[in-house]
């Protein structure tokens, strides 16, 4: 079966080609069938591969399709890696991807057929790139997917290309990603010069024994790539702006899959990170800082999608924290559960926006509970999951990361818990302002409120079930013997790292119980506070002041970037442009002008008077004689 791995990315590619080339000729229903069908086919193949991989005695395989680059000593094959990690990601991508395709077919029904097909083509291309990313058996193929998802994100954010703000957001996303990509690329080059190859097998085998300095350099550069793709400080600002795209896109790309590419990459190259503690510390601190920073911004946002976007940035920060403290399984676990509940929340938000006729400001919502019952229930479950209420999925994955962080340093744990509290607060602020209280929108909007069609609610229900029960594949040891199936499953991928991390000092059970349920209890309190406060929310015109104002304006980071980077770059460029015109071109033209000028001066010698010519001739002859005569002396 794993020989057929190429089918998994091939289906979405075919879907992309058919929908892209036939966008003028295919009907909308055909387009959605092709678009979703290809992903479903991939999902089925992935499922079969997953069961093969899961079976005991499976050895990781590399399926080589053809040589991509073969020059001098450098050989890069177009090869796919089949192992536990890639199989798991295949399931997440194609599974969640399929649900979102299904959802999209209803959500995007207002579009005209060519644009509808264009949308599905982009979506399929995205899934293709993402699959390439997780399947690549070397860093170059991974990089192809890496840039490919960036491209699709660009195309989908700018999907409504008539709107200039959306185009700006799309461009910003691409450029920010490219900054990260440069780091990733440099990391690959360093890898080539160190190991002579980018194949996972060669690089990871060679990592042990490589000087730590070099490994630190490589891993830091790769992490720069992850910062761009997974929206970490300082390259996170594109993600909230990326909400300009259609909501299902936000769910698929900017929540469930693409942004987790950075986590996948680090989990994949875990041994290199384990061997360079400096990078690990950087990863953990960046992740924690992002988690807190983004959560603080989310507290004061009023756009339903922006809140979710900052929440995504914050959750990604948690995953990096997990990676940084060596809890690779925990990070991957959180990727999975986050894919479930964040996709659910985004799709729920999409359902709300759909019902509200493209209104996204939660100050104008409220009381949607009775109008959108299915959306409401699923959304609530999603909120509970992300807040980390036991026994929902978010509880288990977040707990695993926090426990690992505590083992590393209690400070990490305290700050992590602080972030979790903020998460609970802003999520229930969002929930309460949207679904509870009184409706605050216009009468016209109220009149049209309706539950979304089945194509939209079915994915919501499926994702809600996954969010609720998804956590049970990773129940901690304390609660259940052999409960952590995911850890056992992923153990071969992280075996090298586990062998390196000696200090296996466990917490006492009491301590662990206390941390787990103590945190859950505080979170519950926070939820109740938020619930109470915001279900009675009234519209006010009062401007926020102090810290609130700073948070509302996202700590003014965009403005700072604008003044510190964008403007100086533009100014510098204009200066260079002028410099070129005036100075360099000036020199060139100056030489030309000098020649013309001196020629004009010399012209006066050609007076046309024969006498003067002869005089010059005679004088010159006499001079030559004199020179010849006196030369020797």
């Amino acid at each position: 079966m794993s020989k057929l791995i190429y089918l998994v990315p091939l289906f979405p590619l075919l879907g992309f080609l058919i929908n892209g080339l036939g966008r003028k000729y295919l009907s909308k229903s055909l387009v959605s069938i092709i678009g979703s069908g290809t992903i479903l086919a991939s999902f089925i193949v992935s499922l079969m591969i997953f069961f093969e991989v899961k079976a005991p005695g499976f050895a990781p395989q590399v399926v080589t399709l053809f040589d991509f680059i073969d020059v001098a000593k450098l050989k890069i094959s177009f090869a796919f890696q089949v192992d536990q990690l890639s199989a798991l990601f295949l399931l997440i991508i194609t599974g969640v991807g399929f649900l979102i395709h299904l959802y999209s077919s209803a959500y995007m029904h207002e579009e005209t057929p060519p644009h509808f097909a264009r949308y599905f083509a982009y979506l399929n291309l995205f899934v293709f790139s993402m699959l390439l990313l997780v399947l690549g058996a070397n860093f170059v193929i991974m990089f192809m997917g890496w840039e490919g998802v960036g491209l699709c994100s660009y195309l989908l954010i700018g999907y409504w290309f008539k709107n200039d703000d959306y185009n700006k957001a799309a461009k910003k996303a691409f450029v920010m990603n490219r900054i990260g990509d440069l780091g990733f690329l440099l990391g690959i080059f360093w890898m080539i010069s160190q190991f002579g190859s980018t194949d996972f097998s060669v690089v990871f085998a060679g990592a042990d024994g490589t000087p730590v300095k070099i490994l630190t350099g490589i891993t830091l550069l790769l992490f720069v790539g992850a910062m761009g793709k997974s929206a970490q400080i300082p390259l996170y600002t594109w993600l909230p702006d990326a909400m300009a795209g259609p909501t299902p896109v936000s769910a698929l790309i900017h929540a469930a899959t693409m942004v987790t590419a950075g986590i996948y990459m680090i989990a994949r190259s875990n041994i290199m990170y384990t061997l360079s503690p400096v990078t690990q510390a950087v990863v953990a601190i960046t992740g924690l800082a992002t988690a807190l920073f983004a959560a603080s911004i989310a507290l004061k946002q009023n756009d339903i999608k922006k809140v979710l976007a900052y929440s995504t940035v914050s959750q990604l920060g948690y995953m990096f924290l997990g990676l940084g403290v060596g809890a690779y399984t925990g990070a991957v676990f959180h990727v999975m559960t986050h894919a479930f509940f964040k996709a659910l929340l985004f799709l729920g938000a999409g359902s709300v926006i759909h019902a509200m006729h493209h209104e996204q400001d939660i100050r104008n919502m409220g009381g949607l509970k009775k109008h959108l019952p299915i959306t409401h229930i699923t959304f609530l479950l999603g909120c509970l999951a992300i807040a980390g209420i036991p026994p929902l999925s978010g509880f288990f994955s977040k707990d695993e990361i926090l426990t690992a962080a505590f083992l590393k340093s209690p400070v990490f744990w305290v700050l992590g818990v602080l972030g979790a509290l903020m998460t609970a607060f802003y999520m229930f602020r969002l929930y309460a302002m949207t679904f509870l209280g009184k409706f605050r929108g216009t009468h016209d909007q109220e009149h049209h409120l309706h539950e979304s069609p089945a194509a939209m609610t079915i994915p919501l229900v499926v994702l809600a079930l996954l969010s609720v029960f998804g956590g049970f594949i990773g129940v901690p040891e304390v609660l259940m013997k052999n409960g952590h199936q995911l850890e056992n499953y992923l153990a071969p991928v992280f075996a090298q790292s586990t062998a390196k991390m000696h200090e296996e000092h466990h917490l006492s059970h009491v301590m662990e119980y206390m941390m787990m349920f103590g945190v859950a209890a505080i979170i519950l309190v926070i939820i109740i506070i938020a619930w109470n406060k915001f279900s009675r929310y009234q519209k006010t015109t009062a401007e926020a002041t102090g810290l609130g104002r700073v948070l509302e304006n996202k700590w003014y980071v965009d403005e700072i970037y604008d003044t510190v980077i964008s403007r100086p770059l533009l100014g510098f460029s204009s200066f260079l442009s002028k410099f070129d015109k005036i100075f360099i071109d000036g020199i060139v033209n100056g030489v030309g002008r000098l020649v013309q000028y001196s020629s004009r001066q010399l012209r006066w010698i050609q007076s046309g008077q024969v006498g003067s010519y002869i005089l010059i001739m005679v004088t010159a002859t006499i001079l030559l004689f004199i020179i010849q005569f006196f030369w020797k002396s």
Binding site: V71, N167, I179, L576, V588
Partner: protein, 489 residues
């Protein structure tokens, strides 16, 4: 087959030459266009046939030699090795595409226009195949002269000035080159202009050092490398689209190619001596040109500056003498030629339809011309080296080579990846996306011939981008020979 392997170089020279001369005698404009397209397609077909001869041993052995000035050791010698083949292929692909894409453009004196175009093609064929310094110089100039007339007769308002600048610039370089060639010739053991004699010549370190600059400046002007670049934006802006395409798709590659063939193997010690200066200049040029491109409002100047940046990278990568990087440069020459051709076609099209090139005055074209937009976006993204497009292969290898040379230089040059994304996406955003205005309302969807040409370009982009192995096979043995020769000397 129709010809023995050895006859290909001769045929490839005669076909465009005769085709070009015949053009001058055809009166009817339509017939001229048909004839020139036909003759360039024949040339392409011939090149395609020549590619099927893959016997690598033949490359350097089967040299075609016509006797020219035997007394002084100069002859018309030509050979088709892997590097030549890549560029000859580019040259042969470019012309039919150019003729087809500009099919609807009206020219006064269409016959001389197309005649001169084909003569330029002949000149470039000669440059890419010459194995004799005198013949190389001869064709180097032969390619320049038709271009001068093309740019000065059929261009925009300031065409005379721009063409004159171009001519003086390149001609000054050519004279330096001539002096250099003559000096090396006098030093050859057997008093010959042949390439192999040039490779064998023994020069002292000092001699190499100043000869290096004579050659390099000539080639640097052609490429162009910062700070010899100022002719390029002006000429590209002022020339008619077809000429701009020839210049940027093929002719600037002459400079890079000449470095590979006539500079690196002849003065290896000087190359190693001055590599940091050249790489420094090139890398400065990359960032410089990328920055300037960001603030350009003229779509043609923007493409011109982006071309300067890309060529700078090729030059920098060449001087690392890294095997992978040099292979990358050769492949990138081909890819860049293909990509930039696509960009010029679109730029020319917009100018022809709307009469303006100002990015700030355009907008929303995607609404009226979706196919054009899709094709342009693909070409533009290939131009900024997105993976799975052709330019990625070349740029990856070139940056890799540069990284091997110095990490910091590579990181600095790598900033151009970001800057390229900024200026390209800015252009796409402002020209194609957004809302329409009265000017861009007039735009029409592209015609069938342009659609076909761009489709061919897009197909080439993806073929080379996904499966570049045949290109590597093509150039492998000649790159090996080249680098071992440099290493040995």
């Amino acid at each position: 087959m129709i010809a023995a392997f050895d006859n290909f170089p001769a045929l490839l020279l005669w076909l465009p030459l005769i085709g070009g001369i015949l053009c001058f005698f055809i009166k009817n404009e339509r017939n001229v266009k048909t004839w020139s397209l036909f003759s360039s397609i024949i040339t392409l077909a011939l090149v395609a046939v020549s590619l099927t001869y893959t016997d690598q041993k033949h490359y350097m052995l089967n040299e075609v030699k016509y006797f020219w000035l035997t007394d002084i050791g100069a002859s018309f010698g030509f050979v088709l090795d892997g590097i030549s083949r890549t560029l000859v292929l580019l040259n042969a692909i470019a012309f039919p595409l150019i003729f087809a894409a500009t099919w609807n453009t009206k020219y006064s004196n269409s016959n001389s226009f197309h005649g001169l175009m084909l003569l330029a093609q002949c000149g470039m064929m000669g440059v890419f195949m010459a194995t004799d310094a005198m013949a190389f110089y001869f064709f180097w100039e032969l390619a320049l002269i038709p271009t001068y007339f093309l740019a000065s007769q059929w261009g925009g308002e300031r065409r005379i000035q721009a063409a004159f600048k171009f001519f003086i610039y390149t001609f000054a370089g050519s004279l330096l080159l001539l002096i250099g060639i003559l000096y090396v010739y006098l030093k050859t053991p057997d008093q010959s202009f042949a390439m192999l004699s040039f490779y064998k010549v023994k020069l002292s370190g000092d001699e190499q050092n100043w000869l290096f600059w004579l050659f390099f400046i000539a080639f640097a002007i052609k490429m162009p490398i910062f700070p010899f670049h100022t002719w390029q934006p002006d000429v590209y802006e002022q020339s008619p689209p077809a000429v701009t395409m020839v210049l940027s798709a093929v002719m600037v590659k002459m400079g890079v190619f000449a470095v590979i063939r006539w500079l690196l193997p002849v003065f290896p010690s000087a190359v190693k001596h001055f590599d940091s200066i050249v790489i420094g200049l090139s890398v400065t040029g990359i960032i410089y040109a990328s920055c300037v491109a960001i603030v350009q409002d003229d779509i043609k100047r923007l493409i011109a500056w982006s071309s300067i940046a890309h060529i700078g990278l090729m030059c920098a990568a060449l001087f690392t003498l890294n095997h992978a990087a040099v292979s990358g440069v050769i492949i990138q020459m081909f890819n860049h030629g293909v990509n930039i051709l696509g960009l010029w076609i679109v730029a020319g099209l917009l100018e022809q339809q709307l009469g303006i090139r100002k990015i700030s005055q355009l907008g929303g074209i995607a609404q009226k011309a979706p196919v054009l937009t899709i094709l342009l976006v693909i070409v533009a993204l290939a131009n900024i080296a997105l993976p799975l497009t052709n330019a990625f292969v070349g740029e990856f290898l070139m940056f890799n080579g540069l990284f091997g040379y110095s990490k910091y230089v590579a990181a600095f040059a790598g900033l151009s990846i970001i800057l390229a994304a900024i200026y390209t996406l800015n252009m796409i955003k402002n020209v194609f996306y957004g809302s329409m205005n009265p000017i861009s309302e007039r735009v029409q969807e592209i015609t069938l011939n342009q659609r076909l040409v761009l489709a061919v370009i897009v197909v080439l982009i993806f073929i080379v981008g996904v499966y570049p192995a045949p290109m590597f096979d093509l150039i492998r043995s000649s790159t090996d020979t080249l680098l071992s020769r440099i290493a040995a000397k």
